[in-house]
């Protein structure tokens, strides 16, 4: 096929137009906004061009708080959810009775609305004048002192946040890992048995390497997803995330655009680009690591 065939470009045109208008142009525009100092969206004017917006954002305590929250969320939930999903998938793979039932149960969070789930978590964790919430009832039943998980100390809120995130992302990971486990050729397990491998060795030497491409896929998408967290936080802590101290980077971007303190597209653009650079770096590192460990034909 001739690479310079004009027909090929004609076929690509619809996709190119859409990608150009909705992907490339906005990306470019964000870059432009982020370097325009003192940009005013009403009058469409700015003083000059420079790195001031970045400097401002990186000094903004709200941004630093959001950065910290996001990093904690990522570092805790990605390994935890992937590990849990692996354990549950292994369990699901080794039972025959009630397998479909458990699969359905574990898949439920995937088809449930984020805000509805947030409400359930509020009921579970929130302290109101009428009730301490279900979790606190449990804690006091076992003799602990109650904690306000929604408006209380930072660690309690972060715990709820991580718990919620893990719970929400688990179903998809279980789905991917159960199918990955099911696609491992059973004759390999037979061969390993004849070769005298213990269960542990079969898992570490055969199962894990065989499903490692899927695990790396889940880790990469998990990192990206967790870095982009925002709606889950709103579902639990309400729209004023800065007041709750639970804002995320995407939340900060949103606030800078439309929040009470909003109207600063340049700061929002700078924050968005910082997030982009972070995600890009982590993804490249992930790809480098996975490329070394899971390449087989």
């Amino acid at each position: 096929m001739d690479k310079e065939n004009p027909k090929a470009w004609l076929y690509l045109l619809p996709a190119l137009i859409f990608l150009g208008i909705f992907m490339v142009y906005p990306l470019f525009d964000v870059l432009v906004y982020s370097v325009e100092e003192g940009y005013n969206s009403a009058s469409q004017t700015f003083f000059g061009v420079g790195m001031y917006n970045y400097a401002y954002v990186l000094r903004d305590p709200y941004f630093l708080q959001a950065l910290k929250n996001t990093f904690i969320l990522v570092i805790i939930t990605v390994p935890l959810s992937t590990g849990l999903a692996l354990l549950i998938s292994l369990g699901l793979n080794s039972i025959t009775k009630l397998k479909e039932f458990f699969q359905t149960v574990f898949f439920l969070p995937y088809v449930t609305n984020t805000l509805a789930v947030g409400l359930v978590f509020m009921i579970l964790f929130k302290k109101t004048p009428y009730s301490d919430g279900f979790i606190n009832l449990l804690i006091s039943f076992f003799g602990g002192s109650t904690v306000d998980f929604i408006e209380g100390p930072y660690w309690a809120k972060m715990f709820v946040m991580c718990f919620y995130t893990v719970w929400v992302v688990l179903p998809f990971k279980i789905l991917i890992l159960t199918s990955a486990l099911a696609s491992v050729d059973p004759v390999l397990y037979k061969a390993a048995k004849v070769d005298g491998a213990s269960r542990m060795r079969i898992f570490t030497k055969i199962t894990l390497p065989m499903i490692s491409p899927m695990i790396f896929y889940l880790i990469i998408t998990g990192f990206i997803g967790a870095f982009k967290a925002y709606s889950d936080e709103v579902a639990i802590f309400g729209t004023n995330l800065n007041a709750a101290g639970m804002n995320t980077i995407v939340g900060f971007v949103y606030d800078m655009l439309y929040g009470d303190s909003g109207g600063f597209p340049s700061y929002a653009s700078a924050a968005a680009l910082i997030l982009f650079v972070i995600v890009l770096t982590i993804t490249v590192i992930n790809l480098l690591v996975s490329g070394k460990n899971s390449r087989y034909s």
Binding site: V187, K190, D195, G196, P209
Partner: protein, 368 residues
């Protein structure tokens, strides 16, 4: 190490409640002598792989015992039996190199059997040399041809010096030329190591060419055991006669009257000691000799030239199949008498079988 199967039976429960159970292997009695190469032969679904899996320990017999030498291994898991197994799809670990694949069984050894890294490498290389893949040790299985993968699988099975080597359809994934080469290779390795080897195949030519003994199975029941030529020349029933031999044996409906075998309206062969009855007469393709006044006349369809010899394809009303295939030397003169050819029969290539039990009926000089 001799292997003894003592009244081994394997029954699978029905898939759904109420569906009948499946008798995969039925009352299997057999002793495999030490250091021999045995071919388990039968059509698909006859229970030969199940038998192999029970020798290996991957499946437990429903009843009966399995012995290796004097040891009862029925309740031992495969890793404690000292078996090496080559699977039909080779089951190489795709993420490990050839060397790591071969070393894998050694790395699993525990306690006093544990080996040092150097010994393991040495043993792996020795096994690789035995199957002539020592140049490929650092490749991944995906970078090897089918035949090379096969050798890796054999090396992995042999590296622990098993008491018994088991091969499940070892040649079925290879092309015709490689198959010929590999089966000789398997024979060479078996002779060199002296390990008792059992291999499963549905290809009778494969089994007959390299086995010391073949075991013919059908529907979970052992039909006949013996040296390949002996089983071919002296089948105990119609199934074995039909299953062995390419081209297949020709089966005619016939009858015995006054110690003469009649096929259609022609008395074709003297069969001493057989009372008057209806029989199946199986005649090997090489059992026909062209003879102008021969007793059996067949309607000629066509002649196939194969170089070394010639195939005469013909029909006969009493024949069970659609055509009768006979093989004659290529220099033989085929007299076409109005579309018919006449043959005489070699008595030792003619086998008679009971029409209901399908068991062999011996006659004349044929020994029981």
């Amino acid at each position: 190490m001799k292997i003894v199967l003592d009244h081994v039976t394997k029954i699978y429960p029905g898939r759904v409640k109420g569906s009948p159970e499946v008798r995969a292997v039925s009352d299997f009695n057999f002793e495999i002598p030490d250091g021999k190469l045995i071919g388990l032969l039968g059509p698909s679904g006859c229970g030969k792989s199940t038998t192999l899996n029970m020798i290996c320990g991957l499946e437990a017999p429903t009843s009966g015992r399995v012995f290796f030498g004097e040891d009862d291994v029925t309740d031992l898991p495969p890793e404690n039996r000292g078996v090496g197994m080559v699977f039909q799809s080779y089951a190489l670990y795709p993420h490990l190199t050839v060397r790591q694949n071969i070393m894998f069984p050694l790395e699993n050894l525990k306690g006093s059997e544990k080996l040092s890294k150097e010994v393991m490498r040495e043993k792996a290389e020795e096994a690789a040399r035995l199957v002539q893949i020592d140049k490929l040790l650092d490749r991944k299985p995906g970078e090897l041809s089918g035949g090379q993968q096969q050798r890796v699988a054999i090396a992995r099975a042999l590296v622990k010096r098993p008491r018994v080597l088991l091969l499940d359809e070892p040649l079925s994934n290879l092309d015709a030329r490689l198959r010929l080469q590999t089966r000789e290779e398997i024979r060479r390795i078996q002779v060199e190591t002296g390990i008792t080897t059992v291999f499963v195949t549905h290809d009778q030519e494969e089994a007959m060419s390299i086995s010391d003994q073949i075991v013919v199975m059908s529907a979970g029941v052992l039909q006949q055991i013996g040296a390949p030529q002996k089983v071919y020349d002296d089948p105990v029933n119609l199934f074995v006669a039909k299953f062995l031999g390419t081209p297949a044996i020709n089966v005619f409906m016939g009858k015995v009257r006054n110690e003469m075998l009649w096929i259609g309206d022609e008395a074709v062969l003297q069969v001493k000691g057989v009372e008057d009855r209806n029989v199946y007469a199986g005649i090997r393709p090489e059992g026909f000799t062209l003879q102008e006044d021969g007793p059996l006349s067949l309607k000629l369809v066509r002649i196939e030239v194969m170089g070394r010899d010639t195939s005469v394809i013909s029909t006969h009303g009493a024949c069970e199949g659609t055509t009768v295939r006979s093989i004659v030397p290529s220099d033989a003169k085929i007299n076409n008498n109005g579309g018919y050819v006449r043959f005489a029969l070699k008595p030792y290539k003619v086998h008679l079988f009971d029409t209901t039990t399908k068991e062999r009926i011996y006659f004349g000089a044929q020994e029981e």
